[in-house]
């Protein structure tokens, strides 16, 4: 019994430019109808991976399958894909209508049928009525909408999006992000989205692939990428993080106790990251926690939640962010960033507070 069939399959992809390894053994399956994001810093291999799927590059080793067919050596123009680029890439000498009919003409779609498809595709991205404009006469957001409808009008096997929102301002980026998500669900086309923006990746995807230095670090849902990263890299790349160092003092079936200076904190055994997850007493470890997972209160009894480890700390800086406060404290002489909606107006730099966290929110990795 086979599970959901993968629309895209990359097996053992390896790519090298001179001595620079850009893909170091990539294995990836994209499920039918899902929106998968390739996320990572620049140079991590995410765009190379996308180009492998599009056919613009051929790997030194490994194969690519689309809908079960091996396409490793098939040129891009025979792959029947849709793609949206960072620079919009609309043909400047063609009107919006001509841009959309380009792919349909090549597929020998009859003229009346072309018109129907183009009308529908433009309506989908709320661009009806602008058929006769040239790309020059459109704003950035409008251009990208047209580019998306140009990619979709040919009803491609896959939709590839190469940092499509990077050239837009923040407000438009949010708007189009939500729209891409809606469109993707509406049409159900299997979509691969490349971005270096972690918030974008988390908000839009069904699954996120975090890449680093030519390798896949983790493939998971956005929530587990954020809350239970597999590796130190993923923790640090996604969102903000605090880290401490310590030594394991005891291990039981549920919790690991870690001593930092003269304080003890507890970590759930499921929260170990990295490849070597066998922890024993005496191991040197690094602990990671996100700023918003830390509770802060003026008095010990005010900290909500019973399973919290509490530590005394002093405030060094307070920054108001609108929706929350960013509080910098000094814990055991080390800086700690806290993000909290609860705020005591008596706090100021130098105030003594209690900070705490749940063992399920702190991640551990062996050094």
């Amino acid at each position: 019994m086979q599970a959901i069939k993968n629309d895209v399959e990359i097996k053992g992809a390896f790519k090298q430019y001179g001595s620079n390894i850009v893909l170091n053994g990539i294995n990836l399956g994209v499920k039918q109808g899902e929106l998968l994001t390739l996320l990572g810093p620049s140079g991590c291999g995410k765009t190379t991976t996308l180009n492998l799927i599009a056919g613009f590059l051929e790997a030194d080793e490994g194969d690519v399958y689309i809908k079960g067919k091996k396409v490793t050596k098939v040129p891009p123009f025979k792959r029947d894909l849709g793609m949206v680029f960072q620079t919009y890439s609309l043909f400047p000498h063609m009107t919006v209508y001509e841009n959309l009919s380009f792919g349909l003409k090549l597929r020998k779609v009859a003229k009346p049928e072309q018109k129907k498809k183009i009308d529908r595709a433009l309506e989908l991205v709320k661009m009806s009525g602008l058929e006769n404009r040239y790309p020059r006469e459109l704003s950035g957001g409008q251009r990208q909408r047209v580019a998306i409808s140009r990619a979709l009008v040919v009803e491609p096997e896959l939709l590839l999006l190469d940092e499509p929102l990077s050239n837009l301002d923040a407000k438009l980026r949010h708007e189009l992000r939500a729209e891409i998500k809606r469109l993707q669900k509406e049409i159900g086309v299997t979509t691969i989205f490349v971005t270096h923006d972690q918030e974008e990746a988390l908000s839009i995807s069904d699954r996120v692939v975090v890449m680093n230095a030519g390798k896949i670090e983790q493939i998971s849902s956005p929530t587990s990428i954020y809350n239970h990263p597999d590796t130190e890299f993923v923790f640090q790349f996604i969102g903000k993080s605090n880290s401490f160092e310590g030594k394991i003092t005891s291990v039981d079936s549920r919790k690991i106790s870690v001593q930092m200076e003269n304080e003890i904190t507890h970590v759930d055994v499921g929260n170990i990251m990295g490849t070597d997850r066998a922890c024993k007493v005496g191991d040197e470890v690094k602990l990671y926690i996100r700023p918003e997972k830390i509770c802060i209160a003026a008095a010990a009894e005010n900290v909500s939640g019973l399973s919290l480890d509490l530590h005394k700390a002093s405030i060094t800086q307070l920054n108001y962010l609108g929706t929350s406060w960013e509080v910098a404290v000094s814990l055991l002489g080390k800086p700690l960033q806290i993000l909290t909606p609860d705020f005591d107006s008596s706090w100021q730099a130098g105030s003594e507070v209690y900070v705490g966290w749940s063992p399920s929110d702190i991640m551990l990795i062996k050094k």
Binding site: F85, Q86, H93, G103
Partner: protein, 315 residues
Amino acid sequence: MEPVRHYADQEINQEPNTGANLQKTPKNKKRRSWGPGLLLLLPILLFIFGFFIVPMLYILYLSFITTDEIGGTTAAYSLKNYAQFFTDSYYLSSLWLTVKISLYTVILSLLLAYPVALTMAKSSPRVRGYIALLIASPLLVSIVVRNFGWYLLLLPNGTINQTLMSLGIINAPLKLLFSELGVVIGLSNAYLPFMILAIATSLYNIDPSLEKASAILGASPLRSFFSITLPLSLPGIVSGCVLVFSLSMSAYVTPALMGGANVPMMPVVAYDQINNLLRWTFGSAISYVLLATTLITVIVFTRTFERGKFKEVFR
């Protein structure tokens, strides 16, 4: 439908067409002081005025002056020189010859230049630099020297004819030198760099992702070339053609050396009138007919493209 359109129109204002908008709002602009800029431009303005505009105006004046029997000028203005030009079939055929040879030169150099420009555009910046150096290197050799180099190749018993004859391709030597073909070859060789660089510049400006977008939509590389790359390189093609055409129209050395008396192009004829026959006034008229023909051809040619099917490319 209506709200959709409204929304779309609203958005366009966020990325204004800068050029047009700046001109519309001159009130917001601070008045720029021209003083220092003008001062810096003064030497070149004086130079151009003194050594280009004044002589050109003087020649224009001469072209409307008549000559008496002994070659002296009279102060009477007339169109006699122009009338003489347009009623004598020798001069009219010289004009036609000049236009024809220039057009052939444009076509030959365009065909030779485009593949080179395309190669440059596809190469890495380093390779591109080497190619540019190679292309520019003939400009380092004096055009006179280069033309004598062509003699060795094109003479009846020169390299090309001897090779073709020994291969049995031809029986008698081709008339390559002192012929229209010879001039076209010489001019194309001389002006090829301008054509290559003009086309290459417009090819560099094409966003490489356009070709990717075209491929992903299903276009083969050949189809992408004719649908995307070629139309988008039209500005370079047009400016290259304009350059090579104007240069060919006014070329003197190559027609004189490679064509001789068999290929009397306008500059050669004008030179002959002025320097050998001392008919300054008629020579001036020939020059202005040549100038006008070149200008009109270039303007009509450029306008045709700027208003044609691909007018959007020229914006």
